[in-house]
Symmetry: C2
Subunit: 413 residues, 2 copies
């Protein structure tokens, strides 16, 4: 099936989805979960073929790890669908409402986008997650996964569609977009066929979609997150937050990548920080001033302050004051999550007011900037753009709105 035909079928399916009750959607999610659970042996076999092909192509260890499914990961995919069923349905929620002077009733209500395109990399669990979130929010999903995961994705989609079919829902509510790179371009230029595109993956993928798309895009993910330890910081809190934000899961976008330390507290704080990070297996990449505090700090290149390491590494610098910290963050931020550790209310307020990011934290770990932690259930990504959604995106962020005006023949004077 060519992409246009597939997208038109998704559009048709989206009309049914838009008017489904929550009960109908939740019951379909249950059927999809059941079908996926039943397909486990097929899915694991298909995934083995994907992994073998990837290994044959010399693909690296961490990519193979993301690609590989086991029984526990499949169980996670199945449970993810059931968890989405348990979440509230945003469709039909009233955003606001009022009456015009002449009595016309105005209501703004949440409605699905229609057709959502998701372009993502090798993790095959995204296929089930994204399908579930789109279905629950009343959107048809066009899923463009990586060719690396094609066998796993095909089995997953077939199972999900059989669950839809059993629930009396148009199976084109969820489809896998196959084909070579030209299909990705077709998705990005399909104005009127695709309502929103969401890229999920590394910076390269996201930039390519943001730069190339004529369809509205929600930009997700890159996080060069900073942690500023102010002069007044409680060192115990600062160390706990630093280690947690760097080490708890270094490969994700809300992990901290740069540490800024106020010069007044650096002589006392930096040796402790270095010790704690070294214990946790982290390498500090410091400016010459930071290197002066210990021989075990590696000298950092200037461009390391723009790096998203996604590993057990952290760039470190010393700043003269809060203003200098804010300036540094402004120059290097990706607008994801920025943290201050301080006991000064004035400095906390100024940091919060002046830092322009999806999330600003005071005395808490940036690892909390996450849909699951926020109570959104599964998340479709973390938006780092300012339009539509900013920060963790749950079901509500997968909806648009519609004004409904109801009158008795009123006209404009």
């Amino acid at each position: 099936m060519d992409f246009r035909t597939q997208a038109e079928a998704a559009r048709t399916a989206s009309r049914q989805l838009a008017t489904l009750t929550r009960d109908a959607k939740d019951s379909a999610l249950g059927a999809m979960a059941d079908a996926l659970a039943a397909a486990e042996p097929d899915l694991l076999a298909a995934n083995e073929r994907d992994v073998a092909t990837a290994q044959g192509e010399g693909i690296s260890g961490s990519l193979i790890d993301r690609l590989r499914l086991d029984r526990s990961r499949v169980a996670g995919m199945v449970q993810g669908l059931r968890d989405v069923a348990a979440l509230a349905d945003p469709v039909g929620d009233a955003v606001r409402g009022w009456r015009l002077g002449n009595g016309v009733e105005v209501r703004q209500v949440r409605v699905p986008f229609g057709v959502v395109g998701i372009i993502y990399e090798s993790r095959p669990n995204v296929t089930a997650d994204a399908a579930g979130l789109c279905l629950k929010s009343g959107n048809a999903a066009l899923l463009r996964g990586s060719s690396t995961a094609i066998e796993s994705n095909k089995v997953t989609i077939a199972a999900l569609r059989s669950g839809l079919e059993r629930s009396g829902i148009d199976v084109n509510a969820v489809s896998l977009v196959e084909g070579d790179r030209s299909v990705t371009s077709e998705m990005m230029t399909a104005r009127g066929l695709v309502d929103v595109l969401i890229p999920r993956g590394g910076a390269g993928l996201i930039n390519a979609v943001v730069e190339g798309s004529k369809v509205p895009v929600i930009e997700t993910g890159t996080g060069n997150c900073h942690l500023f330890v102010d002069a007044s910081a409680d060192h115990e809190k600062a160390l706990k937050i630093l280690v947690n934000a760097k080490v708890q899961r270094p490969g994700v976008c809300n992990a901290v990548e740069t540490l800024l330390v106020h010069r007044d507290t650096a002589p006392e704080f930096l040796p402790k920080a270095l010790h704690a990070l070294t214990e946790a297996g982290v390498t500090m990449h410091g400016t010459p001033e930071v290197c002066g505090f210990s021989a075990s700090v590696v000298p950092a290149g200037e461009d390391e302050f723009d790096a998203e390491y996604l590993s057990l590494d952290i760039a470190v610098t010393v700043v003269g004051d809060l203003a200098e910290a804010i300036d540094h963050i402004r120059a290097h931020t990706t607008g994801h999550s920025e943290t201050i550790v301080t006991e000064s209310r004035a400095n906390a307020d100024r940091f919060v007011a002046e830092i322009d990011a999806a999330a600003v934290l005071v005395n808490a770990s940036s690892r909390f900037i996450d849909g699951g932690e926020f109570g959104f259930g599964a998340e479709i990504g973390i938006s780092t753009q300012k339009l539509h959604a900013r920060g963790p995106m749950g079901l509500t962020e997968l909806t648009s709105s519609k004004y409904i005006l109801s009158g008795e023949g009123q006209i404009r004077g």
Copy 2:
């Protein structure tokens, strides 16, 4: 000043704007209004030069009309700034807030976008309107007006900036983007410098910006609005709404462009509609079936059902039932405002549920789909996209949001 320097200056100004109190912004809007009122003679003289140049270039009457300022239009621009001062400030409004299980406080608050680029056509009043709305919402404005209005725009911007200066606000909060077409391309590719682009004008301009921009765009405006007269419609209401929606101001995007009439009521309704429209100076462009009702209906070409006439013309067709009306609208809608006139609750509900548009109306004129009518004060446009804002956009729609997390050293387990 080249565009990049100008955009960076706007970014710097946006940092001051983001933290201004409502009082400071309202007082600046007052000073801008005063300065613009004082500049009236200069502005009218500059506008005369623009009009003379345009006439010399053989530009048509309706464009000249949009370009021309008189004392009453200038007074409208001045009053517009004062009206914006009277509107509530959306910045800092809490969108939602809760506590995580571990006590971390989460707040989502409205913040300005930062730098908003507006690309618009010849109406010089947009310059003051857009500057006022951006200032009140805490955004720096990069205003790319038409070269046709360049002299008028320069005088307007100079007056607005003198008002800003007198209020102690960075004058780069408002700037006019000058230069040839390549500057428009620079605006559209200025990711990171411009947060949002809003095109205001005809379909050609809007499409060019939506297709060409790498910066997030809010698509505004084109309205091929339909009015469906159902079998059960009250003819008196239907005629009143039809004439109002077509005639009250035919050149705007919320005017009705296509009339669909249920076949069961066509023999009775169409002659009355034709009479009322003819009285109002409107030409009906009908399908052969519609032409059968009267010799004075002009035969419509199929592509007329995709036309936004923006004039005293209307395309007319007869449909067999509600489903056919919905199918026709789906095939031709621009997603702006769609109306049903019906006395059937079931048909009203089905129309509202199944029509995918920024606004759906039951028994009311589509002319109400307007920021002013909605009580938003001045509007920056009517969004016909689904991302971020849909329908009339007021000050709230010119903001993004930011999550603020406040803790006492909490870390993720």
